[in-house]
């Protein structure tokens, strides 16, 4: 089956109908490039000053957990405490991110594994790019450092951020990514995560732990410590 030929034929017909429906005389070129409506309005009330309480409130409202630790080195002990409390295996999946890998996991009694070795019921730790105060989201991007598999396959997901990595609005995330990757060279996936995975498909009752993590915790800690 030559689907390329079929698709090309369809493409011509679709564009022809579109242009006649839009009453175009010719294709849009150069100076006629359409200008989208201005930047979208932000939701009110707008966060001002310290963004942490805004983010914390939004994230907790959607079933996430927000924890402040004194420094990154305290992270493994904290994760170990939660896993012990939940009676889960003392094992976490990590990406290649050195800042996370180099934390004292062994000393906390936690075995470290690769994202390709994730078993059901296991925990994972990732490094987020930023958190968004407006929505309570934590943002990740794909790559070998923080593989997307961890975000969706583990049962307990811990995400590490510095307190200065909270931005007020969705638009600020695009600015960070544009600065980091330049226009056009984007990571394959940018994931916004808001709390643990959930479904209301059985009798319209919200149940946590559908396909993604059942537990989602954002750890804010100062990198210097």
């Amino acid at each position: 089956m030559d689907i390329e030929a079929l698709s090309n034929k369809n493409r011509r017909a679709i564009f022809e109908r579109l242009r006649s429906g839009l009453k175009r005389t010719d294709e849009i070129t150069g100076s006629e490039t359409p200008v989208p409506p201005g930047p979208p309005a932000h939701p009110n009330p707008e966060p001002d000053g310290d963004l942490f309480p805004y983010f914390r409130e939004a994230a907790i409202r959607i079933g996430g957990n927000v924890v402040q630790l004194e420094g990154w080195k305290k992270i493994p002990l904290h994760v170990a405490g939660i896993l012990r409390e939940k009676c889960e295996p003392m094992k976490v999946a990590l990406g290649a991110d050195e800042t996370i890998r180099s934390l004292p996991w062994k000393e906390a009694g936690i075995e470290v594994c690769d994202d390709l070795e994730i078993e059901s019921g296991q925990a994972g730790v990732s490094r987020g790019i930023c958190a968004v105060a407006e929505t309570g989201s934590v943002v990740f991007f794909s790559g070998i450092e923080n593989p997307t598999r961890i975000t969706f396959l583990v049962k307990y997901h811990f995400v590490v951020l510095s307190p200065d990595e909270i931005v007020p609005y969705l638009e600020d995330v695009w600015s960070i990514l544009r600065r980091r990757f330049g226009n056009g060279r984007w990571p394959r996936a940018v994931n916004f995560v808001n709390g643990p995975s959930a479904t209301a498909d059985v009798e319209a009752i919200l149940t946590v732990g559908a396909h993604g993590p059942c537990y989602f915790e954002v750890l804010f800690a100062d990198r210097a410590n």
Binding site: K23, I144, L170, F192
Partner: protein, 468 residues
């Protein structure tokens, strides 16, 4: 029941007699309305947000040829492929051929209304490709061989006992308890996890397509679409051409009203922006990405008086607030799209003569337009469709006669009032005699209004004094 938008009346009667459906539907509608109130009330400028979102979609549709070309070239630049389908059959043929070329035997699928529109699952099964729906509700209706009854609660017509029985029959997992909802959900998770890990390809829809980056945005609460697009070696996106927006900021404007209208939250659990297949050393993500864009009458709608409906983002707010849908549920509509937006889209997509009942299934209370985050004038579009039905002479005989009688009577106000007064009086008497008839006060709106005006004149204030 065969799928056809004809015979709305008889299916609606069946739905209203189904006690379980009525109880579950009522529960879902109460929940979804409360979530809508919570979401839209959590900000003080929701109207401004929906004006922004609506302006973005309006602008994109007015320049769709430009943005479609931009999207196509960006996807190709990133290493993906774009295919065009004029009809539902074209889309199915293209998807099957893409799968065959890679030797795909098993597919995991995220919720996609476009694939429901084209009957993709049936076509894939006919081509000997196993396809598993992974949205919990969609999976339940798939193994029950039924159709979704609600855009966001596909299995809402079933209770936990029926779902547990279905799982016990379909999953060979030995004796176990499935009495509680978390146990049912955990079993769904366990069974579908295996499917995700073994699937050759993932198929999803798209909530938004971004021209600037060639990006596909997926919004879910379960995380299933994200797994479909992350784990298998190939990802196929099927989407309508109207899903485009110009850039990332514009996608944000749409996302700001989508989750707030549906889940009551600022954002759904997972919102993923995907561009192209995996690159370089990222050992996660598909090796191949295909985007199949569907027309299926959308280009005709652009040139018609129904263009506004293309702004629809499938949030289900209109149906969740529709008094007709609240009584009948989605199955009665006999079509993929139900509720007010479905009553506009189905007659256009499947021919007005095949779906003439749907635009009539409307109480004209205007609630759908009030809650629509895209400010689509749904009651106006439905009225235009009813006008078309009348022009074509395909509306029901009792509707034609009823409307003609009303038009005649409305030309003679005195006669109109005498007859309606008599009717209201008769209804009041009947209501006293037979308690199953809704109570009527025995006065028409006209007479109540006139009485109130007389009273307020006497008191020296009221409508007239306010006007002055």
């Amino acid at each position: 029941m065969p799928m056809s938008p004809r015979d709305f009346d008889s299916r609606a009667a069946d739905a209203m007699a189904d006690e379980q459906l009525q109880a579950n539907l009522k529960k879902l509608m109460i929940l979804l309305k409360a979530l809508h109130r919570q979401g839209t009330g959590s900000v003080t400028n929701f109207d401004e947000l929906r004006q922004c979102a609506s302006a973005v979609k309006k602008h994109t549709i007015e320049n769709l040829d430009y943005y479609l070309e931009q999207f196509e070239s960006r996807v190709i630049e990133k290493g993906g492929k774009v295919h065009y389908a004029q009809t539902c059959e074209d889309l199915n043929v293209i998807v099957i051929e893409i799968c065959k070329r890679r030797g795909v035997k098993t597919i995991v699928k995220g919720k996609s209304m476009v694939s429901e529109e084209t009957g993709l699952n049936k076509a894939l099964e006919a081509a000997a490709i196993e396809v598993t729906e992974t949205d919990m509700g969609e999976y339940i209706v798939q193994i029950a061989h039924e159709r979704p009854s609600h855009l966001v609660g596909p299995a809402i017509h079933k209770n936990r006992k029926e779902i547990a029985d279905l799982f016990l029959k379909h999953h060979d997992l030995g004796p176990r308890s499935l009495k509680e909802i978390p146990e049912i959900v955990a079993e769904g998770r366990r069974v579908l996890r295996e499917k995700f890990l073994r699937a050759d390809a993932g198929i999803t829809g798209a909530n938004v397509l971004i021209a600037e980056t060639g990006g596909v945005v997926l919004v879910t609460n379960e995380g299933n679409a994200d797994l479909c697009s992350t784990i298998p070696k190939m990802h196929i996106v099927v989407a309508g051409i109207e899903k485009l927006v110009p850039g990332l900021e514009d996608a944000g404007a749409v996302l700001r009203v989508l989750a707030r209208s549906l889940t009551g939250r600022a954002m759904s659990c997972y919102t993923s922006f995907l561009t192209g297949p995996r690159e370089g050393p990222q050992y996660c993500g598909p090796e191949e990405l295909h985007v199949v864009l569907l027309d299926n009458h959308r280009t005709e709608i652009i040139g018609s008086e129904f263009r506004d409906i293309l702004r629809c983002i499938r949030c289900s707010s209109c149906m969740n607030h529709c008094p007709v849908f609240g009584q009948t549920g989605g199955h009665a509509y006999g079509s993929v799209y139900s509720g007010p937006m479905g009553s506009v889209l189905t007659p256009i997509m499947e021919g007005i003569e095949n779906a003439a009942d749907l635009p009539d299934a409307c109480s004209s209370d205007g609630r759908c337009a009030e809650v629509c985050p895209m400010m689509i004038p749904l009651p106006d579009l439905l009225r235009r469709l009813r006008g078309k039905e009348r022009e074509l002479g395909i509306s029901k005989r009792y509707m034609r006669w009823g409307i003609s009688a009303y038009m005649t009577l409305a030309r003679f106000p005195r006669l109109y009032r005498t007859i309606t007064d008599a009717g209201a009086g008769a209804l009041s008497v009947l209501g006293h005699v037979n308690k199953s008839i809704p109570y009527c006060r025995g006065r028409t709106f006209f007479s109540l209004f006139a009485r109130q005006r007389r009273r307020s004149k006497g008191a020296g204030h009221g409508y007239r004094s306010l006007k002055q």
